[in-house]
C-alpha cells in the first residue's frame, strides 16, 4: 500500500520582494499506483502568472496519468515493451492538459493593465501568452514492481529501491551558468522532456523536488543522504510532517532563498520491512561524509 506527502514553501527571496510562491506540489495514491509531482513557476518578469502555471502543471499531470491508469492492467502489460512510447504519450497529454488550463484561465482572466504596465507595448507583444504561465515539472510514478518518472526543466528525482540506497534515476546534463531552464511553455516542450523507467524493482520511496532543494546542498552526496534520512523518518509520518515543513523552511531561509517543493510516495510495508537496512545506510552515509571531508582537507602541495 502506498502513502505519500507533499509540501511547498515560499523562498526567503520571494518574501523579501513580496512575490507569491511560484512552486506547486501534490501526490496521489491510486489503485496499485502512486504519483508525486512538483512544479516550479519561472517567476521572472515575463512569466508573471507562473505561480498559476505551476499549479496547472501539477493538476494536468495527475489528470493525465490517472487517465492512463483507467485501464491499469492493460497499461502495465504494455509498459515493459512500450514504456518509451507510453511515457512520451503521457508527456504529450500533460502538455495538452496544461495548455487547455492556461487557455481557459487566460480567456476568463484577460491580462490586466497592472500586469501590462511592467512592459513597453513592443515588449509585451513579443511574449507568447503561454509564457505568462511558464513552469518546470517533475513527476514520479510507481506501481507494484516498477517505477517511472518524467521531467521538463530543473528539479530532481530521487529513488530508494529495496537496497536502501538513494539514487537519481534520471540522467542530468552538464549545465553551464548561462543555461536557461526548459519549460512547459516552450513550443517544443514535447522534445524537452527527460524520463526514466525502472522495471522489476520494488520501490521503498520516490521523491520529486524543485531545484530550490537541490541548490541548498553543498554536494550531491549530501543531497542523496538527505533523502535516506527522510526515508528513515517516514514510519512516524505525522511527526515527520512537522519536521519536514520546518526543515524545508530552514533550507530555503539559510540556503539559496528559493521556493522549495518536495513530493514523495512510498511503499508502507516495504518501508517497515527495510527500516533496519535504511538506518544502516544512514549510518554508513554519515561515516562516508566524514571520510570525504577528511580527504578533501588533506593538502597536496
Amino acid at each position: 500500500m502506498f502513502s505519500g506527502f507533499s509540501h511547498s514553501v515560499m523562498g526567503a527571496s520571494h518574501e523579501k520582494t513580496n512575490l507569491v510562491c511560484q512552486d506547486s506540489s501534490a501526490f496521489k495514491i491510486g489503485d496499485h499506483y502512486a504519483i508525486a509531482v512538483v512544479a516550479d513557476g519561472h517567476g521572472s518578469k515575463k512569466h508573471f502568472r507562473s505561480h498559476l502555471g505551476s499549479k496547472f502543471a501539477v493538476e494536468a499531470t495527475i489528470e493525465a496519468i490517472d487517465r492512463f491508469y483507467e485501464e491499469r492492467e492493460a497499461l502495465e502489460a504494455s509498459l515493459p515493451v512500450n514504456h518509451k512510447l507510453i511515457i512520451r504519450n503521457i508527456e504529450k497529454q500533460i502538455i495538452s492538459n496544461w495548455n487547455v488550463k492556461v487557455d481557459k484561465h487566460l480567456s476568463e482572466n484577460p491580462v490586466t493593465d497592472k500586469e501590462k504596465e511592467k512592459f513597453t507595448e513592443e515588449e509585451f507583444e513579443a511574449i507568447l501568452p503561454e509564457s505568462y504561465y511558464g513552469t518546470t515539472l517533475v513527476a514520479a510514478v510507481s506501481g507494484d514492481n516498477y517505477t517511472f518518472g518524467l521531467q521538463i526543466g530543473d528539479g530532481s528525482l530521487v529513488a530508494l529501491f529495496e537496497d536502501g540506497k538513494a539514487v537519481m534515476p534520471m540522467e542530468y546534463n552538464e549545465s553551464a551558468p548561462a543555461n536557461v531552464t526548459a519549460s512547459l511553455c516552450n513550443s517544443n516542450a514535447a522534445s524537452l522532456f527527460s524520463s526514466f523507467y525502472a522495471p522489476n524493482k520494488k520501490l521503498i520511496a520516490l521523491y520529486g523536488s524543485t531545484d530550490g532543494l537541490y541548490t541548498s546542498f553543498g554536494s550531491e552526496h549530501d543531497f542523496l543522504d538527505y533523502h535516506t534520512i527522510i526515508t528513515s523518518q517516514l514510519v512516524n509520518i505525522e511527526t515527520f510532517k512537522t519536521v519536514i515543513k520546518n526543515n524545508l523552511e530552514k533550507r530555503s531561509h539559510f540556503g539559496t532563498e528559493d521556493d522549495i517543493s518536495l513530493a514523495c510516495i512510498y511503499n508502507e510495508k516495504l518501508l517497515t520491512d527495510r527500516m533496519d537496512l535504511i538506518r544502516k545506510r544512514v549510518d554508513e552515509n554519515k561515516k562516508a561524509a566524514a571520510d570525504r571531508k577528511a580527504a578533501a582537507l588533506s593538502k597536496q602541495v
Binding site: C21, V58, A178, S216, K241, A295, V301
Partner: protein, 290 residues
C-alpha cells in the same frame, strides 16, 4: 479524490487550505512566525546534512617556477595567508566562498583535491622551482571547471573568479592551452583578473587571459604585490558574489550574458580605481640586483 493531495505553498500566516488541498493543513503545526522561530530546529533529524548558502569558487593560478624564488614567493605566501581571513569576511553575509589553488611550474598541481570552503581553508606555503608551464595550467583548469569535477556543488550560484599570478614568460605553448580554456563556459562567464610580478611578466599575455587590459595589474615590489593581490582577490570576490540577475526587477531585466559582461567591466573599473588610489611605494623592486 480523497486520495489526491495537492499542497498549496505556505505563505506566512496564510493557513487557509485551498479547495484542491486534501493535505491536512490544519494539523498542529505552527508555521514559524518570526525569523527567530526558524532558527530553532533542535529536534530536526534532517539537520545532519547541512544547509549550503549560494556559493562561489575562487580559482588562484599561481606561477611557482624557479624565477619566483626568494622575495616574490616569500611575499606571496605571506600575503595569501593574510588574505584568507579577508576573503572569509566577503562570504559571511549570504555567500559561501570556496577556494581552489592551482600551482604551475614544471608540473601543474592543485593545493587541495577539491575546492575548499574558505572557513576550512589553510594556506600551504609554496616553494618555487622549475619552468613556467602556463599552457598546461590552462588545460588543467579547463578540465576541472566542470559540473562533473570542481564545480559539482549544487549550491554553486555564481560564475567563478579566476585569478592568475605569474612573473615570467610561459615556457610551453600557452596559446594552445588558452584556446582550450576559452571554449569552457565557466571561463567565458567567469570573472578573470591577472597580476604580473616583476619586470619579466608580460602584460599582453595576461590581457589575452583576462580578455581586457583593465583587469591586468603589475607589481614591481613586495609592497605592491601584497596590495594588488588583496585588491584583486577581495574586489573580484565581492563582485563575483553579487546577484546581478534582477529577474524580479520590474524596470529592467538583464540577460545572463549581459550580467557576466557587466561584472567583468565593473571589476576592471574598480581595480583601476583602487590602484590609482594606492600610495607610492618605497620598497625595493623585485628585479633590482641582489
Amino acid at each position: 479524490m480523497s486520495n489526491e493531495h495537492f499542497t498549496e505553498p505556505e505563505v506566512n500566516e496564510n493557513k487557509n487550505a485551498s479547495p484542491l488541498d486534501d493535505f491536512d493543513m490544519t494539523e498542529n503545526v505552527a508555521a514559524p512566525e518570526t525569523d527567530e522561530s526558524i532558527l530553532d530546529f533542535d529536534d530536526d533529524p534532517l539537520s545532519a546534512t547541512s544547509v549550503s548558502k549560494k556559493s562561489l569558487v575562487i580559482f588562484f593560478l599561481i606561477d611557482t617556477s624557479g624565477s619566483m624564488k626568494g622575495k616574490k614567493m616569500g611575499e606571496l605566501n605571506t600575503v595569501m595567508e593574510e588574505l584568507i581571513p579577508e576573503i572569509r569576511r566577503v562570504g559571511e553575509a549570504d555567500t559561501e566562498v570556496k577556494v581552489a589553488v592551482l600551482t604551475f611550474s614544471t608540473e601543474v598541481r592543485w593545493m587541495y583535491s577539491t575546492p575548499i570552503p574558505i572557513e576550512d581553508f589553510e594556506w600551504a606555503r609554496l616553494r618555487a622551482s622549475g619552468v613556467t608551464s602556463m599552457g598546461a595550467a590552462f588545460k588543467e583548469l579547463n578540465h576541472r571547471m566542470s559540473r562533473n569535477s570542481f564545480l559539482s556543488s549544487p549550491s554553486l550560484s555564481f560564475a567563478p573568479v579566476i585569478f592568475l599570478m605569474t612573473d615570467g614568460y610561459p615556457s610551453d605553448d600557452y596559446k594552445e592551452g588558452l584556446r582550450e580554456l576559452q571554449t569552457n563556459s565557466w571561463y567565458k562567464f567567469g570573472l578573470k583578473a591577472a597580476l604580473g610580478i616583476g619586470q619579466e611578466a608580460n602584460d599582453n599575455i595576461l590581457a589575452e587571459f583576462t580578455g581586457s587590459a583593465d583587469t591586468v595589474v603589475h607589481a614591481y615590489t613586495g609592497g605592491q604585490l601584497a596590495q594588488m593581490i588583496k585588491i584583486i582577490a577581495v574586489t573580484s570576490s565581492q563582485i563575483g558574489s553579487k546577484s546581478m540577475t534582477l529577474s524580479d526587477d520590474t524596470s529592467h531585466e538583464l540577460a545572463e550574458e549581459d550580467v557576466f559582461a557587466a561584472k567583468q567591466k565593473l571589476l576592471g573599473q574598480q581595480i583601476q580605481e583602487l590602484i590609482s588610489k594606492q600610495p607610492g611605494d618605497d620598497d625595493v623592486p623585485f628585479d633590482t640586483g641582489w
